[in-house]
Structure formats: C-alpha cells, structure tokens
Symmetry: C2
Subunit: 148 residues, 2 copies
C-alpha cells in the first residue's frame, strides 16, 4: 500500500512541531518562547494552520494574529523593559506564517542592527544577560495571563 504523503510538497517544520517552548495555544495560533542564548524573551507567534502570507488570511484572522503579537509585545515590555521591540514576519526559509517578537537592548549582540545582521560585538555583558534570563518565569506568567 502506498502512503498518503504527498512527495511533491516539502514537509513544513511548523506544521510538524511547536517551534519552541509552548506557552500559549489557542484554536488559531500559538506563542512559543525561543531558546536563544543571546536573546532571552525572544518569542514567536505562530499561526496553527499552514498559511504563507498575512494577506492569505481573512481580515478577522489577520486581526487575531496581530492582537496576539501585540499581547506578546506588551507582556515582554511589562516584564523585561527592553529599549526596543522588533517585530518581523519573514518566512523565507519556513514559509508558514510566524511573527518574531524580540526584546532589544542597547548592549545586545547586534544593536542597533537587526539580529540577523553581523554581530556588532564579540561578547555581551554576562551579568545583564543573566538578569534577563532570570525574568523568564515572570514572562511565562505574564504571557499566560494576557491570553487566558
């Protein structure tokens, strides 16, 4: 018997796995915490169904995912007080709609460039980074309380 897998379509990572530490899951989307040693508090808001672009969603669903992005941004600001929030929906490698929500600090590895640019520094302040990592339990709680 043949399988039902369509070999013409490459498998989509974000259709298969959560894509990070699952903090919030609704019927439409999920919020995960990204395991990035240099960017504690980096979250992703991932649409559950496979969609490529914002304009592939209905107006209601575009609003739903942006409301989730803003709730995530607000929780990060409340708990981690970054100098700036960076938001991005790229998906060039994994074309399944997901938003990066990234707390940025003037002393981080790439500031003021985007985190995808070359590193600006050879090292970051370990004490500052540890202090930010220590906020992750509070961030998990803040995210959950904004969604439930």
């Amino acid at each position: 018997m043949s399988t039902l897998i369509n070999r013409d379509v490459p498998p989509c990572e974000l259709c298969e796995v959560d894509g990070g530490e699952l903090i919030v899951k609704t019927d439409k989307l999920r919020v995960v915490l990204v395991d990035d040693a240099n960017y504690p508090g980096f979250c992703r808001v991932i649409w559950n169904a496979h969609a490529k672009e914002m304009t592939d969603l209905s107006i209601e669903d575009r609003s739903a995912i942006m409301q989730a992005v803003c709730k995530t941004e607000q929780a990060i600001r409340d708990v981690m007080a970054p100098q700036k929030i960076n938001l991005a929906s790229l998906g060039n490698m994994v074309p399944h709609l997901h938003w990066h929500v990234i707390p940025r600090y003037t002393d981080d590895l790439h500031f003021p460039d985007p985190i995808w640019a070359s590193e600006k520094k050879t090292a970051v302040d370990a004490a500052a980074l540890n202090a930010r990592r220590a906020l992750l339990p509070a961030l998990r709680t803040a995210l959950v309380s904004r969604f439930y």
Copy 2:
C-alpha cells in the same frame, strides 16, 4: 530670542521628512517607496505621529496601520508577484513606528536570509532586476487605488 527647539530630545528623521517617495498619505499614516537599487518595490508604511512601538498606539490605530501594511503587501503581490513578502517593524535606529514591506525573490541578494544579513551573492541578475524596476509605475497605481 531663543528658539523653541528642545535640545534635550534628538531630532527624529521621520518627524521631519517623508522618508521615501510619497505614494499615499492619510491623516494617520503614509506609504513611501524606498529607493533601494537591489529591492525595487520595497515600501514603508510610516505612522505620521511620533510613536515608538505598536503597543503605544490605541487598538484602533494598531488596526489602521496593519490594514495599511496589508494593503501595501497585497498591491506588491498583485503587481510584482514576489516569492515571499517580508514584514518588519524594527526602529532601533529611528524609533518612530514604521513598517518595512519588502518583496523577496529567490534570486535576490540575500535570499533566503533577511535583507539585513550579509549578502549571499556578489551580483544579482541585472535583467531580472530591470524587469522588476519596470513594474514600479504599475505598483504606484496599485497602491493609490487600494487607498483612495
């Protein structure tokens, strides 16, 4: 007589100038075409008033700017048929809310990385780039027709 300029606050570039070729301007926001030789069709949606983060806007205004981002994305998709759209609100250098809306092609200078990463290629296909530049008049028309 002293001037009314507050010397304690650094001047904000996006409070002073349009920030690109002005295509659309409403009472709340504007859409400009960015002059980037490698990324024809690159647009920015800029909030007119000085605000730093999405969550500094009211719920209604967040919706207004994202609707404008989506109209811009749709106009770019309709006219330029990119392989992917990249959306980003960064503002590390100019902390005045603005969205990058960038058509991406598999043969562009950075694909599949974000445009802020190191270049992946030493040159891009000049014919492909010229063909995309030739679509700019149609893109201007499509943007205007989506907003007015």
